[in-house]
Symmetry: C2
Subunit: 482 residues, 2 copies
């Protein structure tokens, strides 16, 4: 799962027309973007333009831009520039408050209070390089970082002296690192990942020049292990590097880790011929708090786990955690021929504030606090799904997931207002700790009220059948509702 | 240049002995680490241990760690946890103040005041994906990001509608992106980089499975174009991807971009057979403000330029800027076969606070402000070099550079106290805007005083000859001083 619904390539619309400053690639299906991507530029909804929707690659359209202006010589006297900056920031803050209030589609916990850490903003805190190796740069926060890593090591059941890890910039960096470690362990390994894996997994394959095999998924979004087996057997001569999703981006589906391991073993892959990276961007942190969930644990033959810090925990900026086995890092480092040998992280300079934010929340909430929040999220997700179904709207909720998938609202303005992430005919809400029942009620009331107007005109097609996406039993279209 | 002196692999020392929890690779020369890395864990200086110095790879030694502890049930009543966290943070803040005060070795401007932005810390600001394409996630800062990018585009002389770029997490991400763009443009291209290039360049070659040829350097640290030519001619059948350093990590040397281009042309490489990435982590931003400097400009046949935001500008967390030509991004995107096609940045989720910090400083200081600061830095760097030479200490300062290279102080405690970056027998101070003449005087006085004691005992070897590193004319060893 993870970095979650992050890619977006949409046309830039300026004054209702699609402005193309660059090469235009293959057209997108109407009102659809892969990866649950939203579709259009803010404030634009021209129906004609929608029809002309195309992917514009490498676009550079200055839809919204706050230009940097050169200060005047007398600025300090007049205070004009100061006043301008202050007014921009005040307006921006209002936008942020409003946008934070109406947010449901991304798995970010927007409910945090880091007031106690405000004073640290005046320091340039940088954990450059390996977290376990002191740098001469003294303004760092390694002591917090290692504390946080230990916590995650305990969560995923690996001994302190057996793991290696670091705080990343986001879920993508965790996946890039995990897959790189896998490739260095098994240089001619093939990367296997389900179609519903996060796009960063496929990006890694491309960056690293790895052969990549996509595996089919079940309706739930989980990897289809029958198909996985067929593909493994077709490539028996090469080792396997597998990305296992602990919560897919769109449907919040959790791949069956035990079944994946079983499939590998049954297909004749011994433990030295496979490497498993668990992409646990969101659920990697939630699952351990659900008693009946399959465990993500280093007691199983997995190589690495990554999770995001700005999602379930909540953080002002994106960040993540990557944990792997220490012997893999040794292999990674000793394999290197040149300078890179002392280089264990993907990035060089690393944000030293992020570990402090995480450390603070982990200390304040603890296991028990997270457990309570996970339970609340799962309960509220069930509530949302039930209300949608009662209102006759197609909806699906995977077991142990807080991602409610439902019929894509017809009105793009509504989608934008609630910042829903969409893919094809489906949208989703990810119920995070900041999503209260009251917020869900407000959303539901608005959806139900607006929806009744979307389909009242007979000239418009009825709500689509989304059996293919969420299964017959969850579909409430004209054909399936009875 | 840049991410600058960031890698460090040193032994972890616990109670004065080298603790090795992992595989030990090849031994390091005494008191030396590549990449200007410091050598030991804070607070340790055992001479015996120093002799046993070795690289420990994939180490996981919990030298300093603030553990996360589970809150007690009655924490809210007693307030104990709250008090514990507050005391940790207060102590930490004192350390940061002290460490910020005594800092000279890394090219970070620690002098900034972002008090006006404090209120934004409570928002989860995320510019996921491409900066020019709106995401449905509303809590972003693209309007600031594009404003900052426009400013850099102007600085490096490329039209608004001809560039593409984004705010990165650090200099390394810029290099990873620039070299990836180069590889996608010229898939079988060989990567050429001088030996003194930043380690992230060689990391990129490894990650991307590219052939990489190291080019010799001059004593100044600049790329040796005679050697470059020989290596180009030996590989004439393959296109060339070149990393040009706008300020190397250790010596602050600026590769001669014009001569590199000339060498390519003279060696028979037409413009469609080479791609130049300029690693301008520090000087990419300073050079344009020095009138007599060779220009980094997109009017020349270069493909991309990256710079760091936390260095000369100053920022609480690492960040950077990457600018490339829009047509390269089109090529990058349309080449892709699978999902990754809509993916233009290396990371997925992206820190939305960093662009606001940069926007704020650019607006406040402007071209004129930076120009003034660059001049001050160059002037202070000359002052430092002159004082060192007057005191009989070997020292070098490249023209147009603010990185003063000098004889490595004998005492590791002193190196650590001033957070100097070292490599072999040399150390450096990077004069940033926060490095005042008073600070330099304090440093010089302490160095000169301590140094007189390091060499007074006849049993210790005299100050080393560093002719090889900085040239005969800059060396003040017994042999060269007269």
């Amino acid at each position: 799962m993870v970095g979650a619904v992050e890619t977006v390539i949409t046309p830039a619309m300026v004054n209702g027309t699609v402005e193309i400053l660059a090469v235009v690639a293959k057209p997108l299906p109407p009102v659809v973007a892969q990866n649950g991507s939203p579709i259009e530029a803010e404030g634009e909804g021209d129906a004609k333009a929608k029809k002309n929707r195309e992917i514009v690659l490498g676009k550079n359209v200055h839809i919204t831009c706050l230009p940097v202006t050169e200060p005047e010589a007398n600025d300090e006297l007049t205070g004009e520039k100061e006043a301008y900056i202050a007014s921009v920031l005040a307006r921006y803050q209002n936008t942020l408050i409003n946008r934070t209030k109406h947010h449901l589609g991304y798995p970010y916990n927007l409910d945090f209070d880091y007031g106690a850490l405000t004073q640290l903003q005046r320091f340039s805190i940088n954990n450059l390089g390996d977290p376990f190796i002191e740098s001469n740069y003294g303004v760092h926060s390694r002591q917090f970082e290692v504390g946080v890593l230990d916590w995650f090591a305990r969560l995923w059941e690996i001994e302190k002296n057996e793991y290696w890890g670091y705080i990343t910039n986001c879920g993508t960096e965790g996946n890039l690192h995990g897959i790189l470690v896998g490739r260095e362990m098994l240089p001619d390994g093939i990367l296997y990942a389900s179609r519903e894996s996060h796009y960063s997994v496929f990006k890694a394959a491309r960056m690293y020049r790895m052969e990549c095999v996509k595996v089919d998924t079940l309706v739930s979004g989980e990897i289809n292990c029958a198909d996985f087996k067929i593909k493994l057997l077709a490539n028996k001569d090469k080792p396997a590097i597998i990305n296992v999703n602990i919560g897919t981006t769109v449907k919040g589906a959790v791949d069956d880790l035990d079944l994946v391991i079983q499939t590998l073993e049954k297909s004749g892959f011994s433990r030295d011929r496979f490497y498993i990276h668990c992409d646990g961007a969101l659920f990697g942190l939630m699952m351990p708090f659900v008693k009946r969930a399959r465990k993500v644990s280093f007691k199983k033959p997995i190589g690495s786990v990554s999770a995001s810090g700005h999602k379930f925990i909540g953080c002002p900026m994106p960040c993540g955690v990557q944990i792997t086995r220490i012997e893999h890092i040794n292999a990674l480092s000793s394999n290197v021929e040149y300078l890179a040998s002392r280089d264990t992280t993907i990035m060089g300079s690393r944000n030293g504030h992020a570990p402090i934010f995480l450390w603070y929340t982990l200390n304040k909430k603890g296991y028990k606090g997270f457990q309570k929040e996970v339970q609340k999220c799962l309960k509220n997700a069930i509530y949302l799904k039930d209300c949608l179904r009662k209102a006759g709207i197609s909806a699906m909720l995977n077991e142990l997931s807080s991602t409610v998938v439902f019929e894509r609202p017809k009105d793009e303005e509504f989608v934008r207002r609630w910042q829903l992430a969409c893919e094809g005919n489906i949208a989703h809400v990810v119920v995070m700790p900041n999503v209260t029942m009251e917020k869900l009620d407000a959303f539901l009331n608005e959806l139900i009220e607006k929806r009744s107007t979307w389909y009242e005109d007979g000239s418009i097609a009825p709500p689509p059948c989304i059996e293919a996406e969420i299964g017959k039993e969850n579909c409430a279209c004209a054909l399936h509702k009875c």
